[in-house]
């Protein structure tokens, strides 16, 4: 038994002259909520596909739940639930029938208990649509059906690629609560997304991909270091500038950027001078700054 849900070493995938994944090393601990973050085309999906044995690596090794992939796929995949590049279902059948077919197709899919498994997965994913055919589903309903399919066999590892696509805000919140609940019950959750906010809202650890390489891996809070500047929102920027003097770097109609790492100090000085402060925050680097700052080989 190992304490890593996913372990990847020197993983490379080339399609002809294009290198989609370029020598990745990655370790995802069991029980974590892990984010794979990166812009479109950064190699996230190819990486996820290699974890699932859909795409074969050009070189390097992958092990999932302690077993090598794709060699031991038959033993590993029954313990993995996945949502890759959007949900997919047979449009002329109902969501329930789709799940029944999927259940019957693989291991652990005996007829006895199938109805219970399918009902439980549908309930967990929050999909209640009766006998309606999938072709009449909305994007959000399809997404929930895909999630139900991933949850069908109570996986130890959930690999979710852009799972909030098409969900409305309350659906997104429900999904996050569900994933946290599953995680607390022991499921390792790997979420891949191009949106930092997505990953921030759920994950504790993150790997940042760019151009097929991992440019950062570790704690999420450390990913976006403080810039040493404070963002001040105020209705009277001119008065604020007078108080803060040369520390002010930028002024707009309702905000200032102040070159001062001490938020409390800036606040105290403004309040003391009677300047109305509408918002106050330490500035963090944007994801783009982080990517360009961390990526090896600039000028791309």
């Amino acid at each position: 038994m190992t304490d890593l849900a996913v372990e990847v070493r020197g993983l490379t995938k080339r399609y002809g002259s294009v290198t989609a994944v370029d020598g990745i090393d990655l370790a995802i601990p069991v029980g974590s909520r892990f984010g794979l973050l990166g812009p479109n085309g950064s190699g996230k999906t190819t990486l996820v596909r290699m974890l699932l044995g859909l795409v074969y690596a050009t070189s390097g090794t992958v092990s999932v739940l302690g077993e090598p992939m794709p060699k031991r796929a038959a033993a590993v995949l029954p313990r993995v639930g996945a949502l890759v590049e959007g949900p997919a279902a047979y449009p002329h059948l109902s969501g329930r029938k789709n799940l029944r077919l999927l259940d019957a197709a693989g291991p652990g899919g005996r007829r006895a208990g199938r109805t219970e498994r399918v009902d439980a997965a549908l309930a967990t994913a929050g999909l209640d649509v009766g006998r309606r055919k999938v072709k009449a589903y909305s994007l959000g309903m399809r997404q929930r059906l895909g999630l139900a399919a991933a949850l069908l066999h109570a996986p130890d590892l959930l690999l979710l690629d852009e799972p909030t696509n098409g969900l409305d805000p309350s659906g997104i919140r429900e999904l996050r609560e569900l994933l946290v609940r599953l995680n607390e019950a022991g499921t390792t959750v790997v979420l891949s997304s191009h949106l930092l906010s997505e990953v921030e809202a759920l994950c504790t650890e993150v790997a940042l991909l760019d151009h097929g390489r991992i440019v950062y891996a570790g704690d999420l809070a450390e990913l976006r270091p403080l810039t040493g500047r404070v963002l001040v929102g105020t209705t009277e920027p001119a008065a604020a500038q007078a108080v803060l003097g040369t520390a002010v770097v930028e002024v707009t109609a309702s905000s200032l950027v102040v070159a001062d790492a001490d938020v409390a100090d800036v606040n105290a000085r403004l309040v003391h001078a009677g300047v109305p402060v509408t918002s106050l925050a330490a500035e963090r680097q944007t994801l783009e700054d982080v990517v360009t700052g961390l990526a090896p080989g600039d000028g791309r």
Partner: protein, 270 residues
């Protein structure tokens, strides 16, 4: 897995639509024949059509000859071409593979489903056209005439030969299915795989009609399709039937191996 593939096949409206169209054409032909009593002159038109006016029990063979050039191979190519590529196109292929269903197993299940469709198609065509034949056309009263003059076959021999022709046509269609299944593992578009298989058959038909291509004609996939007609001679002319069976066996084995080799080693990116 096999059961769920059959479930999928039988739940598709398309399956039943193709079967309906397959029996519709011979039925329409039978109506015209029965209404006008005008048969094609001997040596012209589809095989058996001259004979069925005298004896409707021969109509299953005639119906197979009617759907064999286009309808039957096209419907088989549609089902087989769509089998893997269609799943890729929908995106369901990746979810089946991570369920997990082994790739070899998935391909085998697809092959079984396609084979069932082929058998269903030829049996339904033969069965329905038998009913249509004896009810619309002249009922010769048991047994069938042969294509070799006046001798009649008894009911048992007639049934044997009709079943034989159904199996022979089914086996020929399995050759088509194998080609389409292979193309289906190459492409992520069911339409492309289907059209590819149909192009192979059309090319084969063109070369078969071209005297200059005589050297390769014995190896063309469509070459012996109509050899089932020889089953209705007295005595049976086995030569082309045997060659047809052997040639299709080669196509089936080669293309299924290619399909397996390709599908088990390729990246699934759809």
């Amino acid at each position: 897995m096999i059961r769920s593939e059959l479930d999928k096949l039988l739940r598709r409206p398309r399956t039943w639509l193709s079967l309906f169209l397959l029996v519709l054409l011979p039925t329409v032909v039978a109506f015209f024949l029965a209404g006008t009593h005008t048969a094609p002159r001997p040596g012209q038109g589809t095989a058996f059509l001259g004979e069925v006016l005298n004896d409707g029990a021969l109509y299953p063979a005639a119906a197979l000859a009617i759907v064999l050039p286009i309808f039957l191979p096209v419907s088989v190519a549609v089902v087989a071409g769509d089998s893997v590529a269609g799943e890729a196109q929908l995106g369901t292929l990746r979810y089946l593979l991570v369920r997990p269903v082994g790739r070899t197993r998935l391909l085998a299940a697809k092959l079984v489903a396609v084979t069932v469709f082929v058998l269903l198609a030829v049996v339904v065509v033969a069965g329905v056209s038998y009913v249509v034949g004896i009810s619309l056309l002249h009922n010769g009263g048991g047994g069938i005439p042969t294509l070799s003059g006046t001798q009649r076959l008894g009911t048992l021999a007639a049934t044997e030969r009709t079943v034989g022709s159904v199996l022979f046509v089914g086996w020929s269609m399995l050759g088509v299915a194998s080609i389409a299944l292979f193309l289906s593992t190459l492409s992520d578009s069911g339409l492309a795989a289907t059209l590819g298989a149909i192009s192979v058959l059309i090319a084969s038909g063109v070369l078969q009609a071209l005297d200059a291509a005589r050297s390769i004609q014995p190896y063309l996939p469509t070459r012996y399709w109509l050899a089932f007609v020889d089953l209705f001679r007295q005595p049976i002319l086995w030569r082309n039937v045997d060659r047809g069976i052997a040639l299709q066996a080669v196509y089936v084995v080669v293309f299924l191996l290619l399909a397996w080799a390709n599908f088990t080693t390729r990246d699934v990116k759809a």
